[in-house]
């Protein structure tokens, strides 16, 4: 292993992984998918997810051999229906118990949140198993061992700490969970593992974390210093409003100003640092992956990721212009078509508002998907360098296809992803 790493450090850049998917084809998949999602009120999602995965897998090559995604939309639909059958009784029992038990019911509803968190992580692990066993490379499938229940307990524990420490524990959470996931990932009989260290990620990301946390804490402290109940009462009077508010909560204007400024700074920093963070975590993750003796190294460049985000923003601006023109004509149509105060006009107004919101949100996520997601996938894939890949030739088949139930659970709990 040390030898392999040394040879990599010394050797010429050997790029084994390539992404060959034409961007145009991907745009067609996601844009058509977005339209059909709207028309079918979301039922098209199983076909869209399958299309996207097929495209990404088939166009990713390792040593000239492309991956194959063998899952189908019908399997996802089936998994979704299974999951409904599983989750619905739990929902029902909880709703009834909470109603029945009064105070004890409140304790139960806290545990319901925990149960839901647990169930989500359980679903995420099973969904990963489904995706891996539908990933075929050189006539062999990947598979995943390990107990989904153990993973879910670990994940709830670690993410709980991440939340409680405002992200301080994030690197260690990622490291622990990646160790669990990759240690249970197999390509045939070749076992994966993850060697990335939480401290490594922590040291690299610490300044970024601090840069976002300080203005965020400033926001919280200055907004909490305001005596809100008094301020709300003072709002109802008349006359000199600033004076009244200052009287109700001394230093109100200063605190509110500081809080809002700090919050704006937080948002700006998040937007500015997000691509760097994305690239950093990606590099750390790839560098930690091992399959048998095969060592991975990422040469992903931060500026390329920035460029991907920049392109997203340009597309977004174009989209917003088109959308505004659309709204303009929609309003003209509405004014001409329906009289004021009729139920028809009211219905059309609501439909237009809802429609605009849906088009905006779907457009936003579709553009992100078509620019950032695809670019980062391509950049990450083509920047991977592997040590000697000869051991792949000797891998033997192992593992079976798993059920799509986990995908269903993740979908029911709104956690679907690619």
């Amino acid at each position: 292993m040390a030898l392999a790493e040394a040879s990599m450090a010394a050797g010429a850049a050997r790029r084994h992984v390539r992404f060959t998917g034409p961007e145009k084809d991907y745009w067609r998949i996601v844009v058509r998918g977005a339209v059909l999602l709207m028309v079918t009120l979301g039922l098209y999602r199983f076909w869209l997810a399958t299309d996207i995965r097929r495209f990404l897998w088939a166009n990713t090559e390792l040593d000239g051999e492309s991956f194959e995604y063998s899952g189908t939309a019908l399997e996802l639909l089936q998994g979704f229906l299974f999951a409904i059958a599983l989750v619905l009784p739990i929902y029902t029992v909880f709703t009834i118990t909470v109603l029945d038990l009064g105070v004890f019911g409140n304790v139960l509803s806290v545990s319901a949140v925990l149960l839901l968190a647990f169930l989500s992580q359980y679903g995420i692990y099973l969904a990963r198993r489904y995706r891996l066993t539908r990933t075929i490379f050189r006539g062999l499938r990947f598979h995943q061992t390990g107990s989904a229940i153990r993973y879910a307990i670990c994940a709830v524990w670690w993410w709980g700490w991440t939340l409680l420490t405002l992200g301080f524990a994030y690197p260690f959470t990622r490291a622990a969970l990646e160790r669990f996931k990759l240690g249970n990932t197999w390509y045939g009989d070749l076992q994966g593992r993850f060697v990335g260290s939480g401290w490594h990620l922590f040291l690299r990301g610490f300044l970024m974390w601090l840069a976002v946390l300080i203005p965020l804490l400033t926001t919280a402290v200055s907004l909490l210093a305001i005596r809100w109940p008094a301020v709300l009462t003072a709002l109802r009077g008349s006359g000199d409003i600033i004076g009244r508010l200052e009287k109700a909560s001394p230093g109100f204007v200063g605190q509110l100003g500081l809080g809002l400024t700090a919050f704006a700074v937080t948002l700006a920093l998040v937007a500015l640092l997000l691509p760097a963070f994305h690239a950093m975590v990606m590099r750390w993750w790839i560098n930690g992956i091992r399959f048998g003796e095969i060592v991975a190294k990422s040469h992903l460049r931060t500026r390329d990721v920035y460029f991907a985000y920049f392109r997203f923003i340009l597309y977004l601006i174009g989209f917003l212009i088109v959308l505004s023109v659309g709204i303009f004509f929609g309003l003209i149509f509405l004014g001409a078509f329906a009289q004021d105060g009729t139920p028809l006009q009211e219905f059309l107004t609501v439909a237009m508002m809802v429609g605009t919101y849906v088009v905006f949100m779907l457009g936003l996520i579709t553009l992100f998907n078509a620019t950032v997601t695809l670019s980062v996938w391509r950049l990450t894939a083509s920047s991977i360098e592997l040590s000697d890949t000869a051991p792949i030739e000797r891998v033997k088949a192992a593992g079976d296809a798993s059920s799509p139930l986990g995908e269903g659970i993740a979908d029911v709990l709104n956690l679907g992803g690619i």
Partner: protein, 371 residues
């Protein structure tokens, strides 16, 4: 079948080793030879399946095979020949597109039929199920709602009882209220125990919760000009109790949440669709329940010997200016309700016999103990 051979890449599904092979087509199968000319395998045409691959590669596998053996052909003529020989394979994607269009049509129809279930099915199912919910469950449901409603409505000072009728000056009014309630309950033929009270709120309103809780607001009694107007509103609320509208609303809400949220609207931005759909349908269900409660009130008032049209007059007065209906209102428009009530009520009204004049004056002062 022309004699056609071409190089290909073969994976046997047992190991990841890559085999450079030659494939040849005969009448029944794709025959795979290694480079030395030794036969490796024969894949009959009917069992071939076309697999996802990048555009320049034709990748096939074998149906019902225990392994994931794969054959990858870059030669376009060979790919075309296999495509022709094998009816199930469509390299051009014609039948895949057809299947996809079918899937789109089916999921669109599924969305439409789920919407139809939400509009017609959910209220129908709730109508059938609501009477089947045991009284005990509905009472517990009501108690939970009661706690919330009291916390929300009771904004008075802590030492002032929320319910009217406890103070000495309120005793006579309390007796009158109970007499009125029991006359209405008899007329309505309600068997379940009611928990009715007048509460200290200034709005002209009354509410019914699941499990027989009925709250009449002080403001309603203040603004009423005679006992029939108060009685009409109470009879309307008894209609909600008798129709079990509380339990029905819970069932309808659960049904809508299942359809909007679990099945539909599960996409980015779908939250707005879910919210709008649920609000519109809930309002529609509620308008229906209000009309039925009005009809119940008319029948009850008629049986009890009161003036059934008083409810309509009172509604028109407290609603103030005429408002047109809206698809978001949970009550039908007031003029519409008044017309309906008048159409249902018998023309002759027998006047105020529910309470005598002294009792009516006492009822007016049921909340007089605290200001």
């Amino acid at each position: 079948m022309p004699e056609l051979t071409s190089p290909a890449v073969y994976f046997d599904g047992m190991t990841a080793a890559r085999h450079d092979v030659t494939v040849e087509l005969n009448d029944y199968a794709v025959v795979i030879f290694d480079r030395a000319g030794e036969l490796i395998d024969q894949w009959p045409y009917p069992r071939l399946k076309h697999l996802s691959a990048p555009a320049h590669i034709f990748r096939i596998g074998l149906r019902k095979s225990p392994t994931l053996a794969r054959l990858e052909i870059a030669d376009q003529d060979m790919a075309h020949a296999i495509d022709l020989a094998c009816p199930d394979i469509d390299r051009t994607g014609v039948s895949a597109r057809k299947a996809r269009r079918k899937a789109i049509a089916l999921s669109f129809m599924a969305a439409v039929s789920l919407l139809a279930v939400a509009v017609y099915g959910v209220p129908a199912i709730a109508d059938r199920l609501a009477p089947a919910i045991p009284q005990g469950v509905e009472r517990r449901l009501g108690n939970a709602a009661d706690t919330q409603v009291r916390a929300m409505l009771n904004k008075g000072p802590g030492n002032r009882p929320f319910e009217c009728g406890g103070a000495a000056v309120e005793q006579a009014g309390y007796a009158a209220f109970n007499k009125l309630m029991s006359r209405l309950q008899d007329a309505a033929e309600l068997r379940l125990p009611l928990r009715a009270a007048v509460i200290r709120r200034e709005e002209a309103n009354a509410i019914a919760l699941p499990g027989g809780h009925v709250y009449v607001f002080k403001g309603l009694i203040d603004q009423a000009e005679n006992v029939d107007e108060v009685a009409g509103v109470i009879a309307h609320e008894l209609g909600h109790v008798a129709n079990r509208d509380g339990a029905r609303a819970v069932l309808q809400g659960a049904g809508l949440s299942l359809i909007f949220g679990m099945f539909l609207g599960d996409f980015v931005g779908g939250g707005a669709v879910v919210l709008a759909g649920k609000t519109l349908l809930k309002s529609a269900y509620s308008r229906h329940a209000e009309s039925r409660a009005d009809a119940f009130a008319v029948r009850t008032m008629d049986t009890a010997g009161g003036d059934a049209r008083a409810l309509g007059r009172f509604l028109a007065r407290i609603a103030g200016k005429t408002r047109s209906g809206s698809i978001f209102l949970d009550h039908p428009a007031t003029p519409e309700r008044v017309t309906q009530i008048d159409a249902m009520a018998p023309p002759q009204s027998r006047g105020a016999t529910l309470l005598d004049a002294a009792e009516w004056r006492a009822l007016k002062r049921i909340c007089a103990g605290y200001v």
